[in-house]
């Protein structure tokens, strides 16, 4: 037996459990409950009510990605700078929460923000009025940033760490101000990491369903929640599939677009 045949169980499993299921999504998206071909599912989700949910998801995912980049870039830059002798352990500390189940992290965040939660109790104890936090869009955004921040830091850090430090020193020697060193040397060289970070934050953010549901007790309704409802509570798999298909195409398109910005995939994914 040829050695390449050892890969056949793997190939079979991947085709059967990743490719075939995706074909089922396409099939259900283009059929009605009786199994006849239709495009009604798509005309249904083209209504303003559905588009508004999609718009909200995209908007929140963009805000979340922007915030993660704003907070995460300096974090990665400082970690990669040579100022800290224990930088390696700091990196581990920042990455550890990434491995914690996101529901647990969201749950922990909920505890802080609830009406009678830790934050509001603290505020009241010093005589300030409490805030209504859970149920607002801000709470959902906070939950998302909290969950996805490490995914932005890691790829940027990896790229910056690999950067040749003498290039920065050369720029400094040639009279660059620190700000210009960052804008003319560091930023352009870290683009692959930024692209990779944006992908890793935006993709899960735009399809999240449990974070929004938990952080807003159902007040903020995103595409992920809609897909969940169609499959779990409403049992209308055809419409659910058409929404999933639209999301999948959207994500494949954005990955393709980001690949164009970073053709060699230098940023590397997590793996």
């Amino acid at each position: 037996m040829k050695r390449s045949w050892y890969a056949s169980p793997y190939a079979l499993w991947m085709v059967l459990f990743t490719v075939v299921p995706l074909l089922f999504v396409c099939y259900y998206a283009f059929t009605d409950a009786a199994g006849a071909f239709t495009t009604a599912n798509f005309t249904k989700i083209a209504q303003p009510m559905y588009l508004l949910v999609l718009w909200d998801s995209l908007r929140l995912a963009v805000y979340c990605t922007a915030l993660c980049l704003l907070i995460g870039y300096p974090t990665a830059y400082f970690l990669a700078s040579r100022d800290f002798s224990r930088a390696q352990s700091l990196v581990v500390l920042i990455l550890v929460p990434m491995w914690m189940n996101f529901l647990l992290r969201t749950y922990a965040m909920m505890t802080l923000l609830e009406d009678n939660g830790v934050l509001n109790t603290l505020l009241r104890s010093i005589g300030l009025p409490g805030f209504k936090l859970i149920g607002t869009e801000g709470a959902v955004l906070l939950g998302m940033v909290y969950n996805y921040l490490p995914f932005m830091v890691l790829p940027i850090y990896t790229v910056l760490k690999k950067m040749d430090y003498s290039v920065i020193e050369a720029a400094e020697d040639l009279g660059c101000s620190p700000i210009r060193v960052v804008s003319r040397v560091v930023l352009p060289m870290s683009i692959p990491g930024v692209v990779s970070g944006i992908t890793m934050v935006f993709m899960p953010a735009v399809t999240t369903f449990s974070i929004s549901r938990l952080m807003s007790s159902g007040m903020v309704y995103l595409v992920g929640d809609m897909i969940e409802d169609y499959f779990i509570s409403m049992n209308n798999r055809n419409v659910g599939s058409s929404i999933s298909l639209v999301m999948l195409v959207l994500i494949i398109l954005s990955i393709g677009f980001l690949r164009k910005v970073d053709p060699d995939n230098q940023g590397g994914g997590l793996w």
Binding site: P9, W13, M14, F84, L93, N101, L214
Partner: protein, 261 residues
């Protein structure tokens, strides 16, 4: 100049400390509350292990723990075998074919979890397979295996190809050469891959949620409890899950170093 440098270092340190505080305060508060006597999050009324005791008395949570472990163990075992064989096979293939398979392995990593979950659900429902821990296991194998594959592949590339040829020349059958030469050489990659697969499996919520109906894993319990509101037993459960994942990660990390994470 020196003073300037010190100021900038202090500034960077403060910034990093703030980011760490943002990341850890919720976790620390949650762990602390799991030992709090009062049900209310607002006050600390004394130290207790009651919530942990309640946790172990709850039939539902213990059943979920069993499902979680069974699924993780079975999925890890199967995906380790399939993934290792897959890596060995792909290593022996011509590049064109191997590239197709590598791209296939990236597919579950780029598809959003929720779409993977509903797509599997559709297939199982269509095939009239009841959604239980068995369908959950099949789904977990599908997303675990690429992690094994990508842990084993680099070890194969580092291996001296002549070793295998030498074993064959010295009279080993191909099967025996595989077991005696290749597997021992790549075993660090296999173990790392298995640990990663196990961690991923323990940690999964979204895909399990859509592929199992009758059996719930721990993450699904956390989700349904969180939708009802916050309960201290869930803090205890979360704390234990956090500790378990940390222990596993330490193990993986000691093996592979952070750079490969």
């Amino acid at each position: 100049m020196v003073r300037n440098k010190r100021a900038s270092k202090a500034l960077k340190g403060t910034y990093l400390a703030l980011v760490l505080a943002f990341l850890y305060i919720p976790i620390v508060v949650m762990i602390a509350l799991s030992f709090n006597k009062s049900v209310s999050r607002a006050e600390w009324t004394g130290f207790t292990f009651d919530w942990y005791a309640k946790l172990f008395q709850s039939k539902q949570i213990m059943a979920a723990l069993r499902v979680t472990l069974e699924v993780a163990v079975v999925a890890t075992a199967v995906s380790t075998v399939i993934g290792t064989l897959g890596a060995i096979g792909m290593h022996a293939m011509n590049t064109g074919m191997a590239n197709v398979l590598v791209n296939l392995s990236y597919l579950p990593m780029t598809t959003p979890d929720i779409v993977t979950g509903v797509s599997l659900m559709l297939m199982f429902v269509f095939a009239k397979v009841p959604l239980s821990k068995w369908t959950m296991i099949m789904a977990h194998i599908a997303f675990d295996t690429p992690y094994v594959l990508f842990s084993v592949m680099p070890k194969l590339r580092q291996m001296n190809p002549n070793l295998y040829e030498a074993a064959l020349d010295l009279g080993c059958s191909p099967m025996k050469a595989l077991g005696k030469v290749i597997v021992p050489e790549i075993s660090p990659g296999i173990v790392t891959g298995a640990l990663l697969a196990f961690t991923m499996s323990l940690d999964d919520f979204v895909i399990s949620y859509f592929t199992s109906n009758t059996d719930q894993n721990l993450a699904m319990i956390v989700y349904s409890a969180a939708r009802r509101g916050v309960e201290p037993t869930m803090y205890a459960l979360s704390t234990l899950m956090f500790v378990a994942i940390m222990a596993l990660l330490l193990l993986v990390n000691r093996r592979s170093g952070l750079e490969n994470m």
